[in-house]
């Protein structure tokens, strides 16, 4: 007799759970020590609150009133809602953390989890590089506490490419197509489309080769000369990270784009050389909380706990 569970979901048995718990305990201790209070939000929310584009997982159902409910696809949207509705007048900053399952529909056979445990923090009411630098420091400390040793954080700016397009006076009708190719990591298509714009060589090269610009502060300095003030924000953030002594784990990546559309500034992703997938990521989303009626600057990150666990096991295999 077969009693299947839906593809992309899983049962967790005691051996795995013990190791996973050690990871979440390590993360939780780090978040708590940094002053982040743990919150819990409902797994199901109204679809119109989450929004169909960024927030909904692809799983929805009707409740007994005929309203459409949706499973959350990440924790950032629910926490933006929580912050705006439960703390409308709170003195900033507000530091919140969470451990909760999120959901995303995936193609069968893709090996992708449809239900995954996220651990993360949101820092609300702190604008500028101080906010992002704090969050990235907590992220790196958390991964240390979770038992990883070789992790790296890729750091970019979600507004950078748009700003470069505006500065180089690329006609607005081309922006969406170029941004889609950048986000789709289609560098061949990007180069082809940029070459059709008839820009001066240096400008065309900057727009088509931006994703190749990744590395340390020397790369940023060289790029700064070409890209100009569009890189000021990233340079300030990197300097703040250097002051905090965590910059050695950070890889600057000027072409970095994240899947979620609510990011307005810095974005980051977590890598480990032992595995070929990202372990999590985050960024600045200054316009999201305002969508729920209480505008404020915000940034955060989320880690996929199972992926962190896989990376930790893989790191042990390499040692």
């Amino acid at each position: 007799m077969i009693h299947p569970i839906p593809p992309g979901t899983r049962d967790v048995l005691p051996d795995e759970m013990r190791e996973q718990r050690a990871i979440t305990d390590g993360l939780h201790a780090t978040f708590a020590a940094a002053g982040y209070g743990e919150v819990w939000t409902p797994t199901l929310e109204y679809e119109e609150v989450l929004g169909t584009s960024a927030g909904a997982s692809g799983y929805r159902l009707f409740d007994d009133q005929g309203d459409v409910l949706a499973l959350r696809s990440d924790m950032t949207l629910p926490i933006a809602r929580l912050a705006a509705t439960r703390y409308p007048d709170a003195e900033p900053p507000l530091r919140l953390c969470y451990f909760g399952h999120a959901y995303r529909a995936a193609r069968r056979g893709s090996g992708q989890a449809t239900e995954f445990l996220q651990a993360g923090v949101e820092l609300l009411g702190v604008a500028g590089p101080e906010g992002e630098a704090e969050v990235i420091s907590v992220l790196l400390e958390g991964l240390d506490a979770a038992g990883l040793a070789r992790h790296r954080v890729g750091l970019g700016d979600s507004a950078l490419y748009r700003e470069l397009l505006a500065n180089l006076e690329v006609p607005a009708e081309h922006h969406a197509d170029l941004l889609a190719r950048l986000a789709g990591k289609d560098l061949v298509g990007l180069e082809m489309r940029v070459s059709q714009l008839g820009l001066p060589d240096s400008a065309g090269r900057l727009l088509s080769r931006l994703p190749e610009l990744r590395g340390g502060p020397e790369m940023l300095e060289r790029a700064h000369e070409v890209a100009g003030p569009a890189l000021d924000g990233l340079a300030r953030l990197y300097a703040t990270l250097e002051d905090k002594g965590v910059a050695d784990r950070v890889i600057l990546d000027l072409g970095l784009v994240r899947h979620m559309t609510y990011y307005t500034g810095a974005v980051y992703e977590v890598y480990d050389p032992a595995v070929g997938f990202t372990l999590g990521g985050g960024g600045r989303y200054d316009e999201l909380v305002g969508r729920f009626g209480s505008p404020r600057a915000a940034c955060g990150f989320a880690l996929d706990v199972q992926r962190v666990h896989v990376a930790r096991a893989a790191e042990e295999g390499l040692r």
Binding site: R107, G111, G154, V188, V275, F277
Partner: protein, 211 residues
């Protein structure tokens, strides 16, 4: 390979061009060329597989980079990989074809409101018919697509053709060209960051050899 990158090499039509390219980069492919059944060549840093599996291995990080056709990438848009370079070789056309001198497709569209099309490329085919405003019923087949219109199962096909010989031999003709497909160099997103130097050097050397 020397720089510590693992390469996913496609077996089949793109294999020759791929191995020639790796030779020009100083990677020893002699063992791969002389061994038809072995799949993993650790010394050379090469794994071989069918072209449609290349994005899978690269997306999962089992290979850092890979070579595959644009047709494969168009058909698997949800695999997250960098498309770094158009390598130029392995040029093929993705086409709509039907029986010669037969207007079965137009006739089906006019009288029955849709065309029936057989293909191994359902995503490319459905996108093409959607873009051109025609309703389509796709029939997915695994083997020789040319057979499908000859038996009357479908009105036309969407398939990849290099020279058109197979189509001609089966009395089919090309009606529409959808896109040109060439071999592409793809990369795992994490390796693209963590092995940036090796990857950039490789891309620069290929660009140099192309120009």
């Amino acid at each position: 390979m020397s720089a510590g990158l693992t390469v996913a090499v496609p077996r089949g039509a793109l294999m020759g061009g791929t191995l020639d390219l790796l030779d020009t980069l100083g990677i020893d492919t002699a063992e791969v060329r002389s061994n038809d059944r072995k799949l993993l060549f650790e010394d050379a840093g090469i794994v071989t597989m069918r072209p449609s599996d290349v994005p899978t291995y690269v997306a999962q990080g089992a290979a850092d980079i890979g070579i595959t056709g644009k047709d494969v990438l168009l058909e698997q848009p949800d695999r997250v990989v960098y498309e770094l370079l158009d390598l130029g070789f392995g040029r093929c056309d993705m086409v709509v074809a039907a029986r010669r001198g037969d207007d079965a497709m137009d006739e089906a569209l006019r009288r029955l409101g849709r065309v029936r099309v057989a293909t191994k490329y359902p995503r490319i085919a459905s996108a093409h018919f959607a873009e051109t405003g025609r309703q389509v019923e796709l029939v997915e087949v695994k083997g020789s697509v040319e057979l499908a219109p000859l038996t009357g199962m479908v009105d036309g096909i969407v398939d990849l053709t290099a020279t058109g010989t197979t189509l001609r031999e089966n009395d089919l003709e090309v009606l529409e060209e959808i896109t040109v497909c060439t071999a592409r160099l793809i990369a795992n997103p994490v390796a693209h960051k963590l092995k940036a130097e090796a990857m950039d050097e490789l891309v620069a050397r290929i660009r140099e050899s192309q120009s």
